[in-house]
């Protein structure tokens, strides 16, 4: 682990007069999960969009394998092996599993003088890759993506990214819309991707999920990196406090405490 796979140094981003990100520096290594924690509006989405080539930085340096890179489009980012999977999988609900797995990179075969889309092979590969991630319920690649559960869609998107050789996998709130069981499954898939040597950037505001899979954590608050620590260095409570802006939480607790003292141990009425 000499040079990190992806390294950000002092990244700044502003939209006109509004500064969204200040001096963000991050490192991600192969086979490691970096959890990016932060409350809504902390700048997580902006950072993802910079990494995936949607936005350009205002200033700062981005390196992959020690070489400086700049992405002018999402296409360039994915050519560098950066794949982004969004909350709902970002796939096409009315396309079949096989077709959406291979969008833009369809397998073809010769049929007489014609080159035709190889549906059978596409379906086989898509189903096999999903099975490798533990989705055994799907056996028919002709099924429509819209019929999959949220977790299965995530699995499909992650399987797709890994199949096409992504070296950095950005997961944007993959567990936010899922039930407990499904979320656990997606977390397992994240670990499987990590085992394959993929660098995973896992964006979430669920501290429990982050602690389950993360090796390395960064907390964003109002566009700045408030903390950067490795697994085991901070407890869950400390992280939650950090994310909520630390003292704000403490202040609220103190207020409730003093209210309870003043009102014979009754908590304040709500509403």
């Amino acid at each position: 682990m000499t040079t990190p796979l992806l390294k950000l140094t002092d990244i700044n981003k502003s939209f006109g007069p509004i500064d969204v990100l200040h001096d963000i520096s991050l490192e991600v290594n192969r086979g490691e999960v970096l959890c990016l924690l932060g409350d809504n509006g902390a700048g997580k989405s902006t950072l993802i969009k910079i990494l995936s080539g949607v936005y350009k930085t205002t200033s700062g340096r981005m390196e992959m394998d020690g070489k400086a890179v700049a992405f002018n489009s999402p296409r360039e980012a994915s050519d560098h092996g950066i794949a982004t999977v969004h909350q709902f999988g970002g796939t096409f609900p009315l396309m079949s599993i096989g077709r959406s797995f291979f969008v833009g990179a369809e397998p073809t075969r010769r049929w007489g003088p014609l080159t035709i889309y190889d549906r059978k092979r596409a379906n086989e590969i898509a189903v096999r890759e999903m099975r490798e991630l533990g989705i055994t319920r799907i056996t028919d690649g002709d099924r429509l993506v819209g019929g999959l559960s949220g977790g299965e869609r995530q699995a499909l998107a992650i399987a797709r990214a890994v199949h096409f050789g992504a070296s950095v996998l950005i997961l944007d709130e993959p567990t936010a819309a899922l039930g407990v069981k499904e979320a656990a499954h997606v977390l397992r898939i994240v670990l499987q991707a990590r085992q394959k040597g993929v660098a995973v950037i896992f964006i979430t505001h669920n501290v429990v999920h982050a602690l389950t899979v993360g090796d390395h954590f960064a907390v964003l608050i109002r566009g700045a990196k408030a903390a950067d620590f490795r697994k085991g260095e901070l407890s869950r409570e400390e992280i939650t406090d950090l994310m909520a802006g630390g003292e704000h939480m403490a202040e609220l607790e103190a207020e409730i405490q003093s209210y309870m003292v003043a009102h014979q141990g009754h908590p304040p009425h709500v509403g």
């Binding site: 077709r99 035709i116 889309y117 056996t139 429509l144």
Partner: protein, 353 residues
Amino acid sequence: MKTMTLDQPAETTATAPVAGISIGSLVRRPETGSFIGLVAVFVFFSFFGGADFTSASGAASWLNVAAELGIVALPVGLLMIAGHLDLSVGTVIPASSMTVAIVSGFYGAPMPVGILAALGVGLAVGFINGILVVRTDLPSFVVTLATLFAVAGLTLGLSIILAGSTSVALPSDPTTKLLLGQFVGGKFEVTLFWWIAVVVVVGFMLSCSRYGNWILALGGDKVSARNAGIPTDHLTIALYMGSGLCSAFVGMSQAILYNSAQVSAGQSFIFNSIIAVVIGGVLLTGGYGSVVGIVLGTLTFSIVNQGIYYTGFDANWASLIIGVLLLAAVLMNNTFRNMAMSFAPRSKAGGRS
């Protein structure tokens, strides 16, 4: 961390679902609903229309309508699957009719020159539509509505300037007539065979070539499609040129069939093509549809449109039936689409957790 219980139920399940006909594969086809609609409409008119409707000349009457509409509806359907509309077909048809009639009829140029000029007009309008839609990012409804009127104005203006009339005669040689404008067996327009050719070409494109996948993806989610490396702009322009070309073909062959061209023909194709495509199970917002569905939708529309003359009913009721049919078709297609999405075979191999 618990390890996955990856109980591999052998390789059998991976290829299991019965090849060919299963309920799942049937429900998942976009044309299932439209097939039911076609059968219902056919039975209805066979019953009320009697033997005349089912006779060869009865069939010819709606097949001829279906052929002309179908050649336009197929590329328009592809555009709709890709998430776009094309209203300009309504004036590309008369524009190309007038082009071939003026070039070959009025000025007496050789027939192939007139035909190429007419097709060129269609390609050019399609190209302009495509460029405008891609560059301005305006809804294609507005863009093609604008070109619809612009082309209508140009056709009228130029016809008056060049030929001094809104109607031009077009005598054509026997070969052209044979290929583009005759009645086979005295009843069936030769356009029918061209329609079959277009069905084969477009059907191959949509379901067998990779471009079909691109079209579905473009209609499903343009941004994701572009990020996946699909040249969405070129694809959009190509699809518009396809619909321009096919509309021009219909206009040109109409002029050859009827030996004359009028400035005002073709308006009915604007909505009829959209109706045929929607009855055929194509999702109006894009991302879903099939060529078989579009063909079935075209047949259904034509049967209602022509079948009414074989019944005892007043022909004025045909539009009412089409309106009701359209609504019923959209509702039914919605139902089938939802079934297709939620359809899952009863878990055969346990499934996960």
